[in-house]
């Protein structure tokens, strides 16, 4: 995935699309747009940085987890099987991108308890387990883009095959000097940023 920070306007449409796609309970965000204000009035600037699981080539979460919750697909997507999680949370300490969430308990967005709709939304979530973005693997298998990519109103994200030198993502990375977050850690994330 390539994220164009020039195009990102911090609207969090991707955050909402992700929540709807994954039916995540309150407080759980597999994707979020971090914000940073800098400078002094009147020269103030606001920077946006969309964050999610980076699907690293060498994912520290996979190594740190004692119970084998994480696995990697052939296409490089790092999957999580929450049913195997017992809540050690070592993955959260190991992830350099703060991309792994932990669901303490399932709560409702509404005051009168979990609604019938929420019961369906949350049926794939287990309290006391870790969770994270899976690049909408089910959608990819159907030939669709991840929900965040599809929902972005400014077309700030491009999804494709990094191994194909002629793909849109590879071209973008080459032409606009794409960079990775915390590249010095050697995790080789699959999410690149261009400015």
């Amino acid at each position: 995935m390539v994220i164009d920070l020039k195009r990102c306007i911090g609207c969090n449409t991707c955050t909402l699309a992700c929540k709807i796609q994954n039916g995540t309970p309150p407080g759980i965000f597999y994707r979020k747009v971090m914000e940073k204000a800098s400078g002094k009035y009147p020269a103030v600037r606001r920077t946006y940085l969309p964050i999610q699981c980076m699907h690293c080539e060498d994912p520290p979460c996979v190594a740190a987890c004692p119970s084998g919750v994480f696995s990697k697909r052939e296409d490089g997507i790092v999957l999580i099987d929450s049913d195997k999680c017992y809540g050690a949370r070592a993955c959260r300490m190991a992830c350099p991108y703060n991309a792994i969430t932990f669901l303490e308990e399932i709560k409702s967005y509404f005051p009168d308890g979990i609604t019938a709709t929420e019961e369906i939304w949350y049926s794939n979530h287990r309290a006391g387990t870790a969770g994270k973005c899976n690049f909408c693997a089910d959608r990819l298998d159907e030939g669709l883009d991840p929900a965040c990519v599809q929902a972005c109103p400014t077309d700030a994200m491009t999804f494709g095959d990094l191994n194909d030198p002629h793909s849109d993502v590879s071209t973008l990375i080459k032409s606009r000097a794409g960079s990775q977050l915390h590249s010095e850690l050697g995790t080789n994330p699959s999410v690149y940023y261009v400015r």
Binding site: P26, G27, M34, E35, P66, C85, Y86, R92, P96, N98
Partner: protein, 307 residues
Amino acid sequence: MNTDLMETNAERLPVDEHNIPESFEVRFIPQSDWKLKELLAFYLGGVGTGLYVISQFMNFTAGLVIGFILVVFGKNLAHLVSASRPTNAFRAFARPGTSWISRGVYFIIAFTIFGALDIASRAGWIEWGGTLGNLLSVLAFVSALLVMIYLGFLMAGARIIPLWHSPLIPAIFLSYSLAFGGALAAILYPISGIEYSIASITKLLLLTIASTLFLILVHLMVMKYSNKAAKRSAELLIRGNLRKIFVGGVLIVGLVIPLIITGLSQVAHSPTGAGTVIAGVLMLIGGFLFESSFLKAAIYTPLIDVE
């Protein structure tokens, strides 16, 4: 649009932390995953293995048994209680090749087996013969050392938390565990009524306090010259919200005062049982506060520069 209805619905929404979205502002965030239950597990493991190792050298059977119980029952129980899905805890065996938690599980099992056999051998419940008995003692000793040290490696592996990501952390945990062992032995000996060498205990406390204090101060110095999150952690401990716990509780009460007590009695060649007991109690309190403050001051390196 019916604004009255919107306001009514907005008022009905419960205001609690789960329903207010977390702030997405880039800032320094302390880790919040490991809290009191994990702290208890770490502390009991350190105290238990420390006491076991020290008791091995002093041939103090009561200390061996208490150390063993603290690790096998105390530490493991605290780990089980801290697991959000304890029925899945058996899966912690799955990744000893890469995960320090998995390795820790194997070290604890090894300690449970060899420690039990070592105690049985020393107490005379089972006659192993000289060589096998000695081998069991060595294996129990090595597995206790591994239990002491794996937590340090686990924490040092958190590259995003600079306060922990240091080769000094395993050394600090090892040194603290031995200090804990000496401290608890200093308290248990007078209670047990067994004759013991106060001079040896005093020397042991002096050595372990000095090494622990030295390692902690060096670690803090390194943090001061590291990245911004590391500096923030160090400031939190020395000047921030945790200063009373860390400077007052850990450094002064837990290390400096015991160092003075044991140091003076060593210099005056008149070590007293009361002095070592007081030093031991203060060290145990300080050690608990150390682990507590090190969990609370663990700040994640922000994804982009905060300031």
